[in-house]
């Protein structure tokens, strides 16, 4: 039984981590976050479903189109929902991004409909056996993609010129601007990337959990909790926190029953913050939201 709990926890947890990376990314660079991340997960799944299943666009094309559209959505979110409301240290972006999430969800209900749809996929039909427990291929893909993204982000930030520019922006907007770094464009870029990450998570989860307008709400909330536990400091920490959170949840469900899953999960979040206010892998100076 334990193996099943662990595997189930890792699969779900990597998903939390993947969405949480989006929170971490924008927070690290601009000290702002996009609370419509959950809705972006849904947008990714719904868009890919509509392209691939409804319109018959091949998956190999539907996935990149979805990622590009989500990236564009992220740029728009930053420009119109975050930037005007974060000037002068205002925290209004917090509310505006939450509002946007609700708008996106209701738009999806209008356009896509309120019915839950199944995403037929060979990746989620026959489970493969791994050390005596079953798992759908797509669920193996989730942690792999999550780790790959975390590594890629690490490399981007430490090894490339763009990463150096992003780091400069995260340290001081004014200094970065003096050095000729286009600060606004850098911040925009992180929002585009974070929304695309959320959409990627949405596409990965669609074959297992089906597609609906409200599929991202709880996921977005748990990803935020994960990002806070991880400490918002580095992608590794966030990814690891996601997997830990998934394990806590599946263990709670497996040992005590499904009714206890959210109770134990969120209680651990509170406990964690009480013990380590700056997160598991965070530094003390990080400002809490």
């Amino acid at each position: 039984m334990w193996s099943q709990l662990i595997l189930s926890g890792i699969a779900v947890g990597s998903l939390y981590g993947l969405v949480a990376l989006g929170f971490q990314l924008t927070y690290a660079v601009s000290k702002t976050m996009n609370f419509s991340q959950g809705a972006s997960v849904m947008v990714g799944a719904v868009l890919c479903y509509s392209l691939n299943i409804t319109l018959g666009v091949p998956a190999g094309l539907a996935v990149p189109i979805t990622l590009v559209v989500a990236f564009g959505l992220g740029l728009l979110i930053e420009r119109f929902v975050v930037r005007p409301f974060s000037d002068g240290g205002s925290n209004s972006w917090l509310l505006t991004t939450i509002a946007l999430g609700i708008i996106l969800e209701n738009l999806a209900m209008l356009i896509f409909g309120k019915e839950t749809r199944g995403y037929p996929s060979t990746w989620a039909e026959t489970p493969v056996q791994l050390l005596g427990f079953g798992v759908f291929p797509v669920e193996l893909l989730i942690p792999v993609v999550g780790l790959a993204v975390a590594i890629a982000l690490r490399i981007l930030f430490t090894q490339t010129l763009l990463g150096k520019a992003l780091q400069a922006v995260s340290e001081s907007h004014d200094t970065a601007r003096l050095m000729g770094i286009p600060v606004e464009r850098m911040i925009s870029l992180t929002f585009g990337m974070s929304t695309a990450l959320a959409a990627l998570a949405g596409m990965l989860i669609a074959p297992v959990s089906n597609v609906s307008a409200t599929m991202g709400t709880l996921l977005g909330l748990k990803a935020f909790a994960t990002a806070i536990i991880g400490g918002l400091a580095n992608p590794w920490g966030v990814m690891l926190a996601g997997i830990l959170y998934g394990l806590v949840e599946s263990t709670a469900a497996g040992l005590l029953g499904g009714s206890y899953r959210e109770i134990i999960g969120f209680a651990v979040v509170i406990l964690m913050l009480a013990i380590r206010p700056y997160g598991l892998f965070g530094q003390a100076q990080v400002k809490k939201v």
């Binding site: 039984m1 099943q4 779900v12 019915e115 199944g118 759908f136 297992v208 599946s250 497996g254 009714s259």
Partner: protein, 417 residues
């Protein structure tokens, strides 16, 4: 030329608009007049008034027209509409008054259902309200019906507490399954046909799940069966294999499942993950949605209870209903009937309601309620109803009326054993 014809069209449109305004004004006046009559102290006078003798009698429906269980709303609407048109074609009720159906969407949300029920009764003056698939919605609406003294007729939602409630007099009737009876039926099947003595319960975490938990716990000892575990899960969970693993450890030989289409599909996928080939016997929730699409090939493993199947249905009434379904809704055969129980229950329920109105000769809520106890025998689709309701039984269907079905290539077919 083109301009001229355009002008003529506009003129026509204006005329039409004027006509519509006049008509709606007239309707409004008659409605206000109707209001005055029904709120008066002598409801019996309504039937005698010559002016209202051909006014339509409004009946309400509060069901999931959109949302994850939208299929159920559509299937109920079909059954009610076909029965209603047949009744109207043969002269209506109470000496020539046609029936009219007013539909409201509850979106599977109790609060929306409550508001809709109140609006239907207070604004639309419906004589009775039909309910939809969601038990939590129907349970939430009960106080409204009892406060306003208007009968409720359930055609799907099966929670025990809907008809066996604490209200006296009880205004809730049902032509559908009753969880308590279903639970006994499912347990008996698991024991007698599958030879199981240990069962695991997989229940949705809401009042409907609780209603069935109570039923299973009541009946299991009577069949000498053990419930080895009760697992509850939420709509929106993506993987419940940890919970199902507990049931497997506990030695469950059969799983009894109570949930709607989307969560049931998640449960089936989790079983596939576990590679656990346990038989699954289910309440009918998944038949109100896109279960085969959501659950994939595993959908075929589940056996469901139903109150009716359009397969092998012979006789004048089933054939007439089938030909209406073909004519109005482009249904090709029994395999095309979506969510069959909704249509079948609703069809019989509408006919019983019409009989009750005729028996009562009044639209007064308490009088109409009492008349359900004095219905003449009625040969319906599901069975012949002979005194279907009494003071201690508000469920027209019993265990003998239930059947088992399964999904086969996206179609619900009778279970072949």
């Amino acid at each position: 030329m083109a301009q001229n014809s355009l002008k003529r069209m506009l003129f026509k449109r204006r005329q039409v608009l004027r006509g519509v305004t006049g008509l709606s004004a007239a309707l409004l006046t008659s409605k206000l007049a109707g209001c005055a009559t029904t709120s008066g102290t002598a409801p019996a006078a309504e039937g005698d008034e010559p002016a209202s003798s051909s006014d339509p009698i409004k009946l309400g429906l509060v069901a999931a027209i959109t949302g994850p269980s939208a299929v159920s709303g559509e299937s109920i609407t079909r059954g009610l509409t076909i029965a209603l048109e047949k009744i109207n074609a043969s002269g209506g009720v109470m000496g020539g008054r046609p029936l009219e159906l007013v539909i409201r969407d509850d979106e599977s949300t109790p609060a929306k259902g409550v508001a809709a029920a109140r609006e239907l009764i207070e604004q639309e003056n419906v004589a009775l309200v039909f309910g939809g698939l969601d038990s939590p919605v129907s349970l939430a609406m009960l106080p409204v019906f009892h406060e306003l003294e208007v009968p409720y007729m359930g055609v799907w939602a099966a929670a025990t507490g809907i008809t066996r409630n604490e209200f006296d007099p009880n205004f809730a009737f049902r032509v559908s399954a009753n969880d308590n009876i279903v639970d006994s039926y499912l347990l008996r099947y698991a024991k007698q046909e599958l030879g199981a003595t240990k069962v695991g319960l997989v229940l949705i975490n809401n009042p409907w799940g609780e209603s069935n938990q109570a039923g299973f716990e009541e009946w299991a000892p009577k069949y000498d069966m053990d419930i080895v575990g009760i697992e509850k899960f939420n709509d929106g969970d993506t993987d419940i294999s940890p919970q199902l693993g507990r049931l497997q450890e506990g030695g469950a030989e059969v799983l009894l499942m109570v949930a709607n289409a989307a969560p049931s599909a998640v449960a089936m996928k989790s079983l596939v993950r576990l590679g656990w080939e346990v038989p699954v016997v289910s309440h009918w929730g998944p038949t109100g949605g896109r279960f085969p699409e959501l659950a994939g090939p595993a959908a075929a493993r589940v056996v469901f209870m139903q109150t009716y199947s359009f397969f092998d249905a012979e006789g004048e009434r089933p054939e007439a209903l089938m030909s209406k379904l073909q004519e109005k809704y482009d249904v090709k055969g029994p395999e095309d009937v979506i969510a069959p129980v909704g249509t079948a229950n609703a069809y019989d329920a509408m006919n019983l309601v019409a009989l009750a109105i005729d028996t009562a000769e009044s639209l007064d809520g308490p009088t109409l309620r009492d008349s359900f106890y004095d219905l003449p025998p009625y040969e319906g689709l599901i069975k012949t109803y002979d005194q279907p309701f009494s003071a201690d039984n508000h469920d027209a269907l019993s265990e003998d009326d239930y059947i088992l079905v399964q999904w086969e290539d996206n179609k619900l077919v009778p279970f072949k054993g």
